[in-house]
C-alpha cells in the first residue's frame, strides 16, 4: 500500500456514478469528510448534470468511468453508485488494482454491510455491499430484536415516494425484495425474512416509511425488546439524523404459520437530510449516509494500518 500518506493525512476516495445517489454522496462527503478526501467523481456521460455540478464545486471529474479511477493510484476507496451490471465489472478491476470498493448497487459481490450491526466485521474485505435502502433502514431494527430474543420471522414493508424511486429500483424491483429479505436473515438474524416494497405517488410526496414486523421464536421480555430497539434507533441517528420511530414498538398476538404468536411491530419514518435530494427521499439519504459511514470506518482503519507500517 502507498506509504506516502502521512499518518495525519486523509484517505483519498472517488465516486463512480454521477446520478442521484452519486451526487447526494458527494454532498455528504464534502459536508462531513471525516478522514476522507473526495478527489474524483466519474461518470460515463460528458453532458451529465452530476459531473457539471461536481466541477462547479471544485471536484475533479471524468466521463471515462472506472478508467479514471484506475489511472489514479492515490485513490484507495471507491464508492460505486452505478448499476449492478456495471459493478460486476468494476468489482474485478478494483480488486485487481488493490482498491477498496463500497458497492451501493444490488450486485452484492461482497458481504452485506449495515453500519450499526456488522460494519466492524468486514473492514479487511476488498469489497462490501450496502444492501438496499430498505435494508439499511430495517435490518438494524430486526437485529435490535434478535440480539435480545431469537427471531423466527421478520418482515419489512417499505413505502417510498414514487419520485424518489429511480430507474435502477424500478427496473429491478425483484432484486430489492430478494436482497432485502436475505439481509433480514443474514445481517438481521431472523430465521426467515420477507420484504415488500410499495411506491406511493401522493402529492406532496410522502416520507420514506417502513414497517418492520418480527415474530420472536419463544418467550421474551417486552421491556428488553423496547430498550434494545430504542437504543438502536439512537445508534442509527448518529449517521442518519432523520431516522425515527413514529411510535414505540407495538405488541400484538396474531395467527401465523407457527400458531398464534406475539408479533412486534415497529413503524419507522426516515426523513432525508436534504443534502442534495429532497427531504422526502429518505430512502436515498439512508443509503448514501450509510455508505459514507462505512467509508469513514475503512478510512480510519487504513490510516491505522499506515501508521503501523510507518512505525
Amino acid at each position: 500500500m502507498d506509504v506516502q500518506h502521512a499518518s495525519n493525512s486523509k484517505v483519498k476516495v472517488a465516486i463512480i456514478g454521477s446520478g442521484n445517489i452519486g451526487s447526494d454522496l458527494m454532498y455528504k462527503l464534502l459536508k462531513q469528510p471525516g478522514h476522507m478526501e473526495l478527489v474524483l467523481l466519474t461518470g460515463i456521460d460528458p453532458a451529465s448534470e452530476g459531473l457539471a455540478r461536481a466541477r462547479s464545486l471544485g471536484i475533479r471529474t471524468s466521463y471515462e468511468g472506472i478508467q479514471a479511477v484506475l489511472e489514479d493510484p492515490t485513490i484507495q476507496i471507491v464508492f460505486d453508485a452505478t448499476s449492478a451490471r456495471a459493478h460486476v465489472r468494476h468489482a474485478k478491476a478494483l480488486r485487481e488494482a488493490g482498491r477498496i470498493a463500497i458497492d451501493l448497487t444490488p450486485a452484492a459481490r461482497g458481504p452485506y454491510i449495515v453500519p450499526p450491526v456488522n460494519a466492524g466485521a468486514y473492514l479487511d474485505r476488498p469489497n462490501v455491499n450496502m444492501v438496499t435502502c430498505g435494508g439499511q433502514a430495517t435490518t438494524p431494527l430486526v437485529y435490535a430484536v434478535s440480539r435480545v430474543t431469537p427471531v423466527l420471522y421478520a418482515e419489512m414493508v417499505s413505502t417510498v415516494a414514487s419520485l424518489s424511486a429511480g430507474p435502477g429500483t424500478r427496473q429491478n424491483i425483484d432484486e430489492f425484495t430478494e436482497t432485502t429479505a436475505r439481509a433480514l436473515e443474514v445481517v438481521g438474524g431472523a430465521q426467515h425474512g420477507k420484504a415488500i416494497i410499495i411506491l406511493n405517488p401522493a402529492d406532496p410526496p410522502i416520507m420514506m416509511r417502513n414497517t418492520v414486523y418480527a415474530i420472536p421464536a419463544g418467550e421474551f421480555d417486552e421491556e428488553a425488546v423496547i430498550d434494545s430497539v430504542m437504543q438502536m434507533v439512537k445508534e442509527v441517528q448518529v449517521y442518519v439524523p432523520g431516522y425515527h420511530l413514529k411510535n414505540p414498538p407495538v405488541f400484538d398476538k396474531l395467527n401465523t404459520p407457527w400458531g398464534r404468536r406475539p408479533v412486534v411491530t415497529m413503524l419507522l419514518e426516515v426523513e432525508g437530510a436534504g443534502d442534495y435530494l429532497p427531504r422526502h427521499a429518505g430512502n436515498l439519504d439512508i443509503m448514501t449516509a450509510s455508505a459514507r459511514r462505512v467509508g469513514e470506518l475503512f478510512a480510519r482503519r487504513l490510516l491505522e494500518v499506515q501508521q503501523e507500517v510507518a512505525a
Binding site: Y153, E155, V157, T159, S162, R170, Q171, N172, I173, D174, F176, T177, E178, K194, I196, I197, I198, L199, N200, P201, A202, D203, I206, R209, T211, Y213, I215, K246, N247, V250, L254, N255, T256, P257, V263, T265, L267
Partner: protein
Amino acid sequence: MKAPRITDTSLRDGSHPMRHQFTAEQVRAVAQALDEAGVPVIEVTHGDGLAGSSIQYGFSRVSEMDLIAEARSVCRQARIAVLLIPGIGTVHELQEAKQRGAEVVRIATQCTEADISEEHFEIAKKLGMEAVGFLMMAHMRPPEVLVQQARLMESYGADCVYIVDSAGAMLPHDAAARVAALKDALSIQVGFHAHNNLGVAIGNSLAALEAGADQLDGCLRGLGAGAGNAPTELLAAVLAKLGLNTGLDLYKLMDAAEYVIAPIMPYQPIPSRDAITIGYAGVYSTFLLHAQRAGEHYGLDPRVILTELGRRQAVAGQEDWILDVALELARSKQADSSAHYETVSAGGKEVAGEANTPRP
C-alpha cells in the same frame, strides 16, 4: 356489442373476505363448478397476489402453489390465472406458478407505476403465458395518465390492460371514460375490474362494456374485498339479457353461487357502512377488515380511519398505514378528551369520569 371474456376471481379476490383461509377441498369445488359452467379463466392466488402470504396482508392457510395445482387438476376447459403484484411477488414465484399449472398472469401495479412491471411481462411472455396488465386504484388518475401507463404495459408485451377500480370508487361515467380512452390508444384488449362499494359494480361493468371493454371480472356471490366484486352469476344473467353469447351456463353459475360458494362464505360482502366509506373515500377495498380490526382494538370508528387514509392518498397494499393512522387518531382522541377534562374542571364543576366518555 361483442361478448366479453369473463375471468372469475372468487379464488383470488375472494381470498380477502376468506382471510386467506381457503382449503384445498374448497378450491377444488369452486374451480370445478366454474369450469363446468363454462368460465374460461379462473384466478387462484393469495388475495394480494403471489407471495402475498405475510403479516402485512395475512398468512395463507394452504400454500397458493398447492391451491393453483388443485384448481388446475379439476379444470377441463378453464385456464388458471394468477395475480402478481411487483414489489410483493417476484418472477420466481411466477415461474413456480407456471409449473404448477397457471397459464395466465395478471400483473398489477398502482396505476401510476407501470414501469416497475417490465421484467415481469418479459418473463411471463418467455414462459409462454398470457399476460394481462392491471392498473390498480385507477379512480385516482384521469384517463390521459392511465393511457400513458397502459401504453407502457403494452410496450412490455401485455395482451390486455385492465382498468381496476380497486376502491370501488367509480361511477359508471368514470369507468366508461377510462375504458374508452384505453380502447382508443391501445391495439390490445382492455378489461374492467369492479368493486361494489358504491353499489354500482354491475352498472360500471356494463358501462365499461359499452365503452368497448373486451374482458370483465366477477366473483360468485360477489365474494371479494370491500363490498365485493360484480357477482359472476349476475354478470352472466345481465349479459345474456343483452343478447350476448358469453358461453356461460347461467343456471350452473347460479347453482355454483348458491350451493358451492354461499355455504363457505364467512359473510356476504355488501355495501355496509364501512364498505361505502371505502368507495366514498377512495381507499383500497382490502382495507375493510384491517380497519375494522384496528377500530375495535383502539376504540375508533373504522370510517374515521378509512377517511383519513383516503386523505393521505394511501395506495394499494398499504395495510400498515392503518395501524399508523389508528395509533395517531387514538392519541389525538386521548389528547382531546384530557383537554376536555381540563377545560371542564377548570370551570370548577365535578365531572370526574367525563374524560373517558366516548366523544360523538
